[in-house]
């Protein structure tokens, strides 16, 4: 039984590590897709113009370079979300899930609003929110895995 628990624990730890690595990396394509859709349907279709009039390869390189530049920030946001979630759980004597969710949502809202104010742009808020979606997803995964195995717990 203890061997089984150890085995399961390893699987969940691996999944957690993978989630931590992959989720922020996926956040950029996610919010960029959203922004490109907004640009195409409500904006000047800037990306489409670059694709048609300039160079598809140059656009792809630009997106790849942006993705690499965004990664440190997205990992940082995920780290912040996890720390906040842990603090919220530690402060809750019943160890319930909702303080973690509330803390993550608060962080998401704070960054989205802060981002939009800083950029002076409405879609900027969406951009920040989409970036945070990745972090929130990570938070959910942490919670989900944390219920199954104590090894996954950050405490």
């Amino acid at each position: 039984m203890s061997r089984m628990k150890l085995y399961l624990g390893r699987i969940f730890t691996l999944r957690l590590v993978l989630a931590l690595i992959v989720v922020p990396a996926l956040a950029y394509p996610l919010f960029t897709t959203f922004l490109l859709a907004v640009d195409t349907f409500f904006g000047d279709a800037e990306a489409l113009h670059q694709f048609r009039s300039e160079s598809a390869m140059a656009l792809a390189r630009l997106l790849a370079a942006d993705w690499l530049a965004a990664l440190p920030v997205l990992y940082g946001v995920l780290g912040l979300a996890i720390v906040l979630a842990q603090v919220a759980r530690a402060c809750d004597p019943h160890q319930r899930s909702w303080p973690t969710l509330a803390a993550s949502s608060f962080l998401a809202t704070a960054i989205a609003v802060g981002g939009s104010v800083a950029l002076g742009a409405t879609p900027g808020a969406f951009a920040a929110a989409m970036a945070l979606a990745g972090a929130l997803l990570g938070g959910f995964l942490v919670l989900l895995l944390g219920r199954h195995s104590k090894q996954c717990s950050f405490r």
Binding site: D44, E46, H49, S53, E54, A69, A70, T122, A127
Partner: protein, 495 residues
């Protein structure tokens, strides 16, 4: 008391005179050097338009800056041989061999003629080894305070191995040689950093040469210490408005034609320029204003750019990308975009304008698709007819299958009239002529569609530049502002 006072005054006057003389001599010592490099890599690719452009640039510069020292390098230089191709529509006569040329698909080439260039004061050929040696020597002689221009008028290429690397783009030089952005950067490294060095590149993929403002022409955000700036007719990934071998100067719509018209104060045909070329109203048209005039006035297939525009594009951080693309802040770029939109009869309101832009673009894409479809069908028809005619001709004059032989030469002397009468009498010959002429017209219509689509693209590009400038003014650091300002000063300084 009077004497010491007058002596003091005299000393002051002397000091002022010495100072004035020093300033004047300093000014006199500082020189403006302009390198003009032109021509194609081979006679076949050295169109007359390039030669006429270079001659016109020389005339304009001599008029506007008579004190500047011109260093002209063109094609093969002053040696023997031809380095300019010009074209005139050949007559549809047997004497002009046009029926025979049509059957063998040489009806356009039949109008080509070759001759040596007539560019004045050419110092040498543009062959890479020769040019690099000459430029290296001349560049190293520039002194602090001098000003330099490098103007290239010819052809360019992307690197076949690294098409995505702008610094690998090349100038095509005489003898089918090439000079890359990196090689030119190394060459320009011989110039004293205190010399302001400006450049104009008008060839295909010329945007790659805007990298000359970066350290070692690398893909970096910051500027190199040298005081460099310039203009390019196109991006690093697009071909520029094609060179023409035609004699009709009025048809020319390339970057050089409009840029130097603005600097020279008159169009290529000697007509007055429209109002508003001198955008800041200081009485002098700066190179930056000339560039803006090209953007506004040139209805061609180019999307030109300056180094300061390139700087803004490279500056934009990832978190500002694709944000707020439906709006355009009020600045010099948005004004220019609005002016072009008005020329094109586009609505002024953002949403309506975007809808109309997309509607027109879709129409042009449909038109282009229809033309390409018609072209493909005609090409197949023409090929089939040509093969049929060639077989019929070869049955009567088998020597036609072996050009560059004695028998072929004899055919041209003794049998060509009869053969061409035979061709013209063929029932489908008129159809071949019509199809070939239609193909020529289709090429011109495709160029027109490309130009129309590029003008719509110009509005979008300028609106994007307006947003970039707006973002830059809000978020750029002090160092970035200083660099951008340095580029703008360089681009705005009078010729």
């Amino acid at each position: 008391m009077l004497f010491p006072l007058s002596r003091a005054r005299a000393l002051w006057a002397l000091a002022v005179l010495v100072l004035c003389a020093a300033v004047a001599s300093g000014r006199a010592l500082a020189e403006e050097h302009i390198w003009i490099i032109g021509g194609g890599p081979t006679p076949e690719a050295s169109e007359r338009q390039i030669e006429l452009n270079v001659k016109w640039v020389i005339d304009t510069l001599r008029r506007v800056r008579p004190d500047a020292r011109l260093h002209v390098y063109f094609g093969k230089g002053q040696g023997a041989g031809s380095d300019v191709k010009h074209w005139q529509r050949p007559a549809e006569t047997a004497a002009a061999l046009q029926p025979l040329a049509r059957v063998f698909g040489q009806q356009m080439e039949n109008g080509n003629a070759y001759r040596p260039n007539t560019v004045p004061d050419v110092l040498g050929p543009t062959t890479k080894t020769s040019l690099v040696a000459q430029l290296g020597d001349e560049f190293s002689q520039l002194r602090p305070g001098d000003q330099a221009w490098l103007i290239f008028n010819g052809h360019g290429l992307q690197d076949a191995v690294k098409p995505g690397d702008p610094a690998a783009n090349t100038l095509r030089l005489w003898g089918n040689t090439r000079l890359s952005v990196r090689e030119l950067d190394t060459l320009m490294g011989r110039v004293d950093p205190a010399v302001r060095f400006r450049f104009i590149f008008t060839q295909c993929y010329s945007g790659g040469f805007l990298r000359l403002i970066r350290p070692q022409a690398e893909d970096r955000r910051e500027l190199a210490p040298a005081d460099r700036c310039g203009f390019a007719a196109e991006s690093a990934t697009r071909m520029s408005e094609g060179c023409s071998a035609t004699l009709k100067v009025g048809d020319y719509r390339d970057y050089t034609t409009f840029f130097f018209a603005a600097l020279g104060g008159q169009t290529r045909l000697g007509e007055a320029l429209p109002d508003g070329v001198d955008r800041n109203g200081d009485g002098v048209v700066s190179p930056l204003e000339a560039h803006r005039y090209v953007l506004k006035a040139a209805h061609n297939a180019d999307l030109p750019r300056s180094t300061s525009e390139d700087y803004l594009e490279r500056w934009q951080p990832w978190y500002l990308r694709w944000v707020e693309t439906g709006r355009s802040p009020d600045n010099s770029f948005s004004k220019l975009a609005a002016e072009i939109a008005a020329q094109l009869g586009l609505p002024t309101e953002d949403k309506a304008m975007r809808r109309e832009l997309e509607r027109r673009r879709a129409g042009l894409v449909r038109e282009s698709g229809a033309l390409l479809g018609e072209r493909d069908a005609l090409v197949a028809t023409v090929r089939s007819r040509q093969e049929q005619f060639q077989q019929q001709l070869a049955a009567r004059w088998p020597q036609l299958k072996h050009p560059f032989t004695t028998r072929y030469a004899q055919f041209l002397v003794s049998d060509s009239d009869e053969a061409q009468a035979f061709i013209v009498a063929l029932p489908a010959y008129d159809d071949l002529v019509r199809s070939q002429d239609r193909l020529d017209t289709i090429e011109l219509e495709l160029v027109r569609v490309d130009r129309d689509e590029t003008r719509l693209g110009m509005v979008l590009r300028l609106r994007r530049m307006a947003r970039l400038l707006g973002q830059f003014e809000r978020f750029a650091s002090a160092r970035e502002r200083a660099e951008y300002s340095r580029l703008q000063d360089c681009e705005s300084a009078p010729l």
